[in-house]
Amino acid sequence: MSLSQQQVAQAREQAQRVPRMKGTLRWRNELVGFGFVLPFLIAYALFLLWPVLLGLRMSLYNWNLAGGGTSAFLGLGNYQELFADANFWSALWHTILFTVLSTPFLVILALALALLINRTIPAKWLFRLAFFAPFVLPVTVVVLIWQWLFTPGFGLINSTLTAIGLPTVNWLTDPHVAMISVVVVTIWWTVGVNFLLYLAGLQQIPQDMYEAAAIDGAGAWSQILRITIPLLGRITTLIVILQVIASLQVFSQIYLLTTGGPDFVTRPVIQYIYETGFSSYRVGFASAASYVLFVLILVVTAGQFTLLQRQQRRGA
């Protein structure tokens, strides 16, 4: 060791004395401690906390995009109009539909891939790369590529369908199919993250558990069901929570793929907020919608965290 035992012992003694020290040292700690936190705190308060409060204030007025309307107090008027607007409920429904459609795949497929890769097979790096690579691409790149794939006529997907004798599909312009196309793109783009998380989780499960089960005569499937999945319970809950929070805020890929169409059938809440706020100049109203979504997400998150706590208490 580069530091003598004596020096370390001295340091430890001094460290223990620090909290009980009075006078200038404690004041110095207060100042320095606060000073270290201050820059972050300023940025945090200004750009994370303040907008939350500002949004609430804006939602009570007929605030417009030009920054005017700050004196036209509407009280809960924006909220009343919001809850009476069928377009808002549709948008909410689309967001929930997207979440419900995509989350199971993003969890189960990720788990399946992780299970498959976690065997003794060569070239694991290639598979890990293939499934995770799309995640590092920006959404615009992903959408441009998939729009090209989805093109009617000479897009790769429809051409392949034609080649094998199946009818073509209007992936982005058929109202019955558009949301499915969005979900497919999302899965291709983001399953890699969950997949990696599961892979890390799998590698933490001690091998002896499997060996013991094998000795007891448990087959592969039974091992997966009885050992792997229960032990991955906490990770799964975490992944689901994160996935749901992210899905409720979906905007980019839907806006870029279908602009919320055709005929608004895929329009999510965030796009509704964007359009009422910026296309229709009504940022006060859009703030009200933002707040409702905010509360919804908090409620869902809180609910899921409670579930997580309960799981932890049960000792998963």
Partner: protein, 292 residues
């Protein structure tokens, strides 16, 4: 009892032999499945690259073919020379680097204080910051825009950067990491007369290199790929980042698929390069986030 255990061992050895064969079989089967899935997963990118390398006229012929009479880099050249893509590269690099650096500094400084410096209100402050992890970012775009308007930061670099530098999650990661570093090094340096700032900068940060790397890289990639916020705060095409520029600016020449694919691939390239070089940090960082 001895016979029972011997029986068990013999039974185990027998099952092991057949199991090994079965396992080899299943593993080959799994390898095949994975290979097919991988090909499926990589096809979109491969097709995009194939299209980008074709001459424009061959991109819309039917039936489709992967081969072309003469592959060319024409589409890439056109994109780079006629569009604002180089300018968007600059904007993306500038904003992402600054965001990454500032995030690391702010978060690690705060985490250092939470981990090492006893001061009043430390616990409460930490929980207030942690609560921020629950705030969904996309939901704030409207009031955030109004805020940037009042500062005059719309269509500026600071407009892009400022909302992305305060990351409660990064504070959490750093604090976890710092908590795991023994205080001996701090105390030794403090006794030598170093200020807290020096201890932070010259003792803890070097020791926390994995955390710094992870946070820096993850923040960089997130900032690079961020679409919605730069999309909202930037309208000037010269100030756009790559994801926004690619999505917003239309070519007036009709649809040129090779060029579109070329621009898409060029737009995704930096992120892929970073991923290839820093795979380990990214993966470890994500996996490390699990350990809470």
């Amino acid at each position: 009892m001895a016979t029972q255990s011997i029986e068990r061992v013999v039974h185990a050895r027998e099952t092991t032999a057949t199991d090994q064969m079965k396992r080899k079989f299943t593993n080959s089967g799994i390898f095949a499945i994975l290979l097919v899935l991988t090909i499926l997963w990589l096809t979109p990118l491969a097709w995009a690259l194939d299209t980008a390398l074709k001459p424009e006229s061959e991109t819309t012929i039917f039936p489709l073919t992967w081969l072309s009479s003469h592959f060319t880099l024409q589409a890439f050249a056109s994109t780079l020379s006629t569009s604002d893509l180089p300018r968007w590269y600059f904007n993306s690099i500038l904003t992402s680097v600054v965001i990454s650096l500032v995030t690391v500094v702010l978060a690690s400084m705060a985490a250092y204080a939470f981990s090492r410096i006893p001061f009043r209100g430390r616990g409460v402050l930490f929980w207030i910051i942690l609560a921020g992890i629950m705030i969904p970012g996309q939901v704030l775009i409207v009031p955030l825009f109004a805020l940037m308007q009042s500062f005059g930061f719309v269509d500026t670099y600071q407009g892009i950067i400022l909302p992305q530098i305060a990351s409660p999650f990064a504070v959490f990661i750093f604090k976890q990491f710092f908590d795991g570093i023994p205080r001996d090094y701090d105390e030794a340096a403090l006794m030598d007369g170093a200020s807290r700032l020096r201890v932070y900068w010259q003792v803890l940060i070097p020791l926390a290199r994995p955390a710094v790397a992870t946070v820096a890289i993850l923040t960089f990639v997130a900032a690079w790929n961020n679409f919605i916020w730069p999309f909202i705060v930037i309208t000037d095409t010269k100030m756009m980042t790559i994801p926004v520029g690619l999505a917003t600016v239309q070519t007036s020449y009709g649809i040129r698929y090779a060029q579109i694919m070329a621009s898409a691939l060029l737009g995704g390239l930096p992120a892929v390069i970073i991923f290839l070089f820093f795979q380990r940090q990214i993966v470890e960082g994500l996996a490390g986030g699990l350990k809470e």
